[in-house]
Amino acid sequence: MAHAQHAAAPAILQEVKPAVVPRAVLVQNNRSFAWITDKICGIIEGKTPTWWWVCFIVACFVASFTVAGITYLVATGVGVWGHRSPVNWGWPIVNFVFWIGIGHAGTLISAILCLLRQKWRTSINRAAEAMTIFAVVCAGIFPVFHVGRVWYAWFLFPLPNSNLIWQNFRSPLEWDVFAVSTYGTVSVLFWYVGLIPDLAVLRDRFYATGNKTRSFLYGLFAMGWRGSNRHWSNYEMAYLILAGIATPLVLSVHTIVSFDFAVSLIPGWHTTIFPPYFVAGAIFSGFGMVLTLMLPLRAIYHLEDLITQYHIDCMCKITLATGTMVGYAYAMEFFIAWYSANPYEGFTFINRAFGPYAWAYWIMITCNVVTPQLFWFKRVRTNTTLVWVLSIFVNVGMWFERFVIICTSLTRDFLPSSWGYFSPTIVDIFTFFGTFGVFSVLFLLFIRFLPIMPMAEIKAVTQQADVHSGSDHH
């Protein structure tokens, strides 16, 4: 096949006459390279808008709830959280899984879509990667502080210590430590490597306008990038390798998170489909959050030429696909609970749907399985307000999924005498509520100081960068 290109063209090729179904353009209005640079850099170079300050102050206020919650926890003890027998593992693990799941879309868009050569990822990957890192930060708060004496959190790592205390390596919680920390590290590296050419652009633009301080700072992180052929060659290779590393990582993290539950014997937790089901759910929730964040950004900064209807379409379709996969997993869990003829499994699922947490279960089903089905309709996908509302539903639904899994199985276990009902304390609620502020503060700083889209990558998918542009037979 090495000589395929030189073989005589077969007669059938003379008959080739494709029907016309044009491909969607990824940058509308045939925007020039300069326009793209000005548009993206302009967000950073311009005066800080009022709305940004308003949002930032509100986000800081909301974040203070987390600060207050964990300060109170550290000062008082973990008893301020709502963990009680039989739910000794409630609210923080729900929030941990919720946030870590959100991060997954960033890696999916960056790494997996990169390996699959999906060019539409270019307009949204930077912000999604940033979202990943900030979501991992929010997720990390809960396991770190749930140890109570947070200054002993380093005991999570297998470091030699004077008490000869070693971790339980058979516990998936210990695997989480390695999986999440590796994932966080690689996500930061991936994000940073992608940023380097754009940081160099900002360095040069600030230098040209005489802002030496900012030019120096951007230049410091641009690591002497000059855009030479060798730089680009190394950059592309590094990016591809990181994509290759990040892809199994993104699967491993949520697989191990699913093991936190599935390796146990608790009905409703111990089921073999958990690993792919959790990964699909994580991608689903992550895309929900990407839509939640990108649609307002698109409107505020008038990025319609860069985040086109086609991008929104693709994101909606992935949300629909992963939501349906999650629906398949719910159905399979329910079916096999019945098929297994195990009375405990059967009870757990009936209890989920019709027990004291039925309200949470049906919120989960509605938001994760039912409402995403609206994305089948083009009319829905082209209504950005409706898409945004539905993306909020996804976020809500996926939080409730974790709540349902964790609380329904623990509140009614094998011993009816120990059954209970989990209610979070005000500290629980404050701490979780505040993480939205933490996330928002970080995201607002990101859009203010870093290019929210990879300029070079977007330029590569414009019509003018296409060597076949203008020819239908390429």
């Binding site: 096949m1 090495a2 395929a4 290109q5 073989a7 005589a8 063209a9 077969p10 007669a11 059938i12 090729l13 008959e15 080739v16 006459k17 494709p18 029907a19 016309v20 179904v21 050569r117 199994p248 699967l251 697989t255 093991f259 599935a262 390796v263 146990s264 014997l265 111990h270 089921t271 073999t272 489909i273 958990f274 690993p275 792919p276 349906t324 398949y328 997993a329 399979m332 869990e333 096999i336 019945w338 098929y339 297994s340 003829a341 195990n342 089948w376 239908d472 037979h473 390429h474």
Partner: protein, 413 residues
């Protein structure tokens, strides 16, 4: 179902079709003769392996075509036409499934699936009818539902295939984009349907052989094997057409590379799914789940499990990491054949230990009965190949009016 092509392809496949039919019929006859040698049960199980194997490959082809349309993919347009020919096998597979149903109905109810006979004796002087683990699910596991559901699976697969083939073949003649849109609609509704039918086919046909056992991952495991089988067959078809000269100037290295990458991805996915299922059951160590694997640690099944571990994952994974191996005809053909062989072993591993000896141990894998597995695979496979070769001249070699055909012909990395 298909529109005759305006011109015949480069080479005729009539002789090949005839050869495949003869081989297929010979396989079927030999399998039938096996009843006289090894008895009806061993042969029936072998037939189940054969039919499951080729149905899995056909389902994989269906999934590939559906996924192609849903993604509006371009690189796989040329390959898609061959997969569409492969889809013609479903109706014959339905027909070939019939002997199992007829033998159950008219010969012995528990010939293959023990739960079909309420009087089937279980270990411990119990019968299926008195087994609480059966009665709880008897509304699902009973003869009528089994036949109805199996018929439904084939109806869905045949119907989806007919729609996909009709739209694609007709577009060759009229070039109307409505056929592309129709295929996208078929893909959108077909993917959930295919996912559900393949899951329940795996549960009914294979998992229910040991009906005490359960695993929510089972449908995903079957999906992975279906997809891997179809990808491997795709490689063989591509190389065969290249060798004949039909695909010269049409295919390039990048097509093979893309298929090879998918093979690598699905190899990892299969390992992920299979490991997760094994690990979660092993770690929980619940007797109601572990017995299924314990049976498969008995006798030569232990070694068979290791062959699957290394043969189904480690070897193809390491080989498929190489770009060169993916695009070199000889190596990728060998890898594809290897994967097809190990999928067969994987199906045997899931099906055959359900045949127990008097002590309740699974009968050995390496025995004379293995011959009937091979004749079944050859028999069913011959008919599937015959169906493919019959369909081959009914359409153009490549979808000449597909909107993405030019992108496919110039596919680059």
């Amino acid at each position: 179902m298909s529109t005759p092509a305006a011109s015949a392809p480069v080479h005729s496949t009539a002789a090949l079709a005839q050869k495949a039919l003869v081989i297929g019929l010979a396989g079927i006859v030999l399998t039938a003769l096996g009843i006289l040698v090894s008895g009806p049960q061993a042969v029936a199980y072998s037939w189940l392996v054969g039919i499951s194997y080729w149905t899995a490959i056909a389902i994989g082809m269906l999934l590939m075509v559906l996924i192609h349309h849903i993604f509006d993919a371009s690189w796989s347009v040329v390959l898609r036409r061959q997969l569409e020919h492969g889809l013609s096998a479903f109706k014959w597979l339905a027909l070939l499934f019939l002997p199992l149903v007829l033998a159950t109905l008219f010969y012995r109810l528990d010939l293959v699936w023990p739960w079909m006979n309420p009087a089937h004796a279980l270990a411990g002087h119990e019968t299926v009818a008195g087994d609480i683990l059966y009665t709880k699910k008897s509304s699902f596991l009973n003869l009528k539902t089994f036949i109805g559901m199996t018929a439904l699976f084939f109806v869905v697969w045949i119907w989806l295939s007919a729609r996909l083939r009709k739209a694609s073949f007709t577009q060759d003649a009229d070039g109307d984009v409505k056929w592309t849109r129709m295929n996208r609609v078929t893909a959108a509704m077909g993917l959930p349907l295919a996912a559900l039918t393949l899951t329940f086919a795996a549960i009914y046909w294979i998992k229910s052989l040991e009906y005490h056992w359960f695993s929510t991952m089972y449908g995903v495991w079957f999906f992975a094997n279906c997809f891997r089988g179809a990808l491997s067959v795709s490689v063989l078809i591509m190389l065969w057409l290249w060798r004949r000269g039909d695909y010269k100037g049409i295919l390039n290295n990048n097509h093979l590379h893309s298929v090879g990458q998918l093979m690598l991805a699905l190899t990892v996915f299969w390992a992920y799914v299979t490991f997760s299922q094994y690990f979660l059951i092993w770690n929980a160590n619940l007797p109601e789940e572990t017995f299924w694997y314990n049976l498969r640690e008995y006798g030569d099944w232990w070694g068979t499990g290791l062959v699957i571990l290394f043969g189904h994952f480690v070897v193809p994974f390491l080989l498929l990491l190489s770009y060169r191996f993916k695009v070199t005809h000889r190596t990728i053909r060998r890898i594809a054949l290897w994967i097809l062989a190990v999928i067969l072993i994987d199906l045997c591993y899931n099906i055959l230990p359900a045949i127990k000896d008097a002590a309740g141990h699974p009968k050995p894998f390496l025995s004379f009965n293995l011959l009937w597995v091979l004749t079944s695979v050859i028999g069913v496979g011959g008919i599937c190949c015959w169906s493919y070769f019959r369909s081959f001249p009914t359409a153009k070699l490549i979808p000449i009016r597909d909107p993405r055909i030019n992108e496919c012909l110039t596919h680059h990395e």
